[in-house]
């Protein structure tokens, strides 16, 4: 999985890009209490939703970089000519994208959750949900990124394409936290998220590879 290592090294060389996404995540989450008022009871109820929406937005923010640099300097073309299957290369790029933009969010989420006075139990479910969900965001987002490659106004267009497809993850992720808060079983939500993760793992690399071929010809 050389692609993962290469992308991670590249991301580390340009640390500012990675950090901006994280700071954006923290900022969006911190803006909500300012907008709706500091009542703890309400914030506790909102916490999961706010964190999830912020995670959706910030993972989308970094999608534009997934293929664009490689597209501009011709690396992507070389990857397509490579004997390895393009789907696997794409899967590597998705994984690297998740490790750079998804994993840090998961690690940061507990701190932000404490700001919203979430219970330890709810926090645990939120983190687990984000751990299952953020890879799916990277994978679905990659399809959009591949389709909008090299287009003018690609960023806004990307959000229009990708955000509706993110909705199931948002619902299940926040649903699990709500279930644990009201004492219900979380198994169904989390297993559905796991199912979506497996489905995306199987299909999205292939679809993204196809989208890249369309965009590159």
């Amino acid at each position: 999985m050389l692609v993962i290592r290469r992308d991670l090294v590249l991301a580390m060389r340009r640390r500012a890009d990675v950090l901006t996404t994280l700071i954006f995540f923290v900022m969006v989450v911190s803006l909500f209490p300012l907008g709706v008022g500091p009542e703890m009871a309400m914030l506790r109820k909102m916490a999961a939703g706010v964190l999830w929406v912020a995670a959706l937005l910030s993972s989308m923010l970094s999608l534009g970089r997934l293929f664009s640099a490689d597209y501009l300097d011709g690396t992507l073309e070389q990857m397509m000519l490579a004997p390895q299957s393009l789907s696997m290369l794409v899967l590597g790029k998705m994984t690297a994208h998740w490790m750079v933009s998804g994993l840090p969010l998961v690690l940061l989420a507990p701190v932000l959750g404490l700001q919203f006075d979430m219970s330890v139990q709810a926090l645990g479910v939120l983190i687990f949900g984000l751990l299952l969900g953020t890879p799916v965001l990277s994978m679905i987002g990659a399809i959009g990124a591949a389709l909008t490659l090299g287009l003018r106004g690609g960023g806004v267009l990307l959000s229009l394409l990708v955000l509706p497809l993110y909705i199931p993850m948002l619902i299940f992720g926040t649903g699990a936290v709500e279930a644990v808060a009201s004492g219900l079983s979380i198994a169904s939500h989390l297993s559905l998220m796991g199912a979506l993760l497996v489905l995306s793992l199987v299909f999205t690399p292939w679809v993204t590879a196809h989208a890249l071929r369309i965009s590159m010809e």
Binding site: I143, P164, P168, V207
Partner: protein
């Protein structure tokens, strides 16, 4: 005698066929709209629970049905275009999209108008309303992606892929949203033992057919102009009587 099934899959022949079909669909849509609205507003009795307000279903229900079916048809054409690389399928897909989006808007709008007197609110975050809204977003994404790519062939394929991904996602979105919150009344039209009055049923059915015909007429008109635009440099276009004048 062998029938050539693929005769009308070429824009050249389909252009003429569409031109002949459009008036039929357009006029019958207009007539059926008139009949359906008349039965719906004057013949059908008042609803026991919802009073006169229920009459909006004669527009609301066909529009909702059409908005969903047209998405599937659009995705089907998109898939055909992607697999067999036919020009006409992709043109049909992009011709259907605006009509589908229009029906989604009508469905949301009339639903809001009905919701105000019945539920006391213009908008409730109900499962069906929300998934209809998301469907509208998917249509808009398709149109926007198609519009922002200059090369029509690339636009066709990229939008086709998006439509297919969207159609895979529609059921997932629908069930996730339904699980999340449900308030909308269940469907009244069932295959057996419906609880509706006959006149209501007739009006609804006529309006549904009228909406279908309208959708056909509009999509065919749009595909004709797309054909004219895309193939403007070919000889058969320059030899068309309406172009020659």
């Amino acid at each position: 005698m062998a029938i050539n099934w693929f005769k009308y899959s070429a824009p050249t022949t389909f252009y003429g066929l569409a031109g002949k079909l459009i008036p039929w669909f357009a006029y019958s849509a207009a007539i059926l709209f008139a009949i359906g609205l008349y039965i719906g507003f004057f013949v059908a009795p008042m609803d026991a629970q919802q009073g006169e307000f229920y009459r909006i279903i004669f527009i609301h229900v066909p529009a909702s049905i059409l908005s969903m079916f047209l998405y599937m048809i659009m995705a089907g054409y998109a898939a055909l275009g992607l697999i067999f690389n036919t020009r006409l399928s992709a043109m049909m897909a992009s011709a259907i999209a605006p009509t589908g989006a229009l029906f989604a808007v009508i469905s949301l709008w009339t639903g809001a108008l009905w919701g105000k007197p019945m539920w006391g609110a213009w908008w409730l975050w109900d499962a069906r309303m929300t998934s209809e809204l998301i469907l509208l977003f998917l249509y808009l994404g398709f149109i926007a992606l198609h519009a922002s790519i200059d090369d029509p062939r690339r636009a066709d394929r990229a939008a086709a892929l998006l439509a297919i991904v969207g159609s895979v996602n529609v059921p997932i979105i629908y069930f996730s949203v339904q699980w999340w919150n449900t308030l909308h009344q269940g469907s009244t039209i069932k295959f057996s033992g419906t609880t509706m009055h006959v006149a209501m049923q007739q009006a609804l059915f006529i309006m549904l057919v009228a909406c279908w015909f309208y959708a056909f007429a509009v999509a065919l008109t749009r595909v004709r102009s797309i054909i004219l635009e895309r193939e403007r440099n070919t000889t058969w276009i320059t030899e068309l009587p309406e172009v020659k004048q």
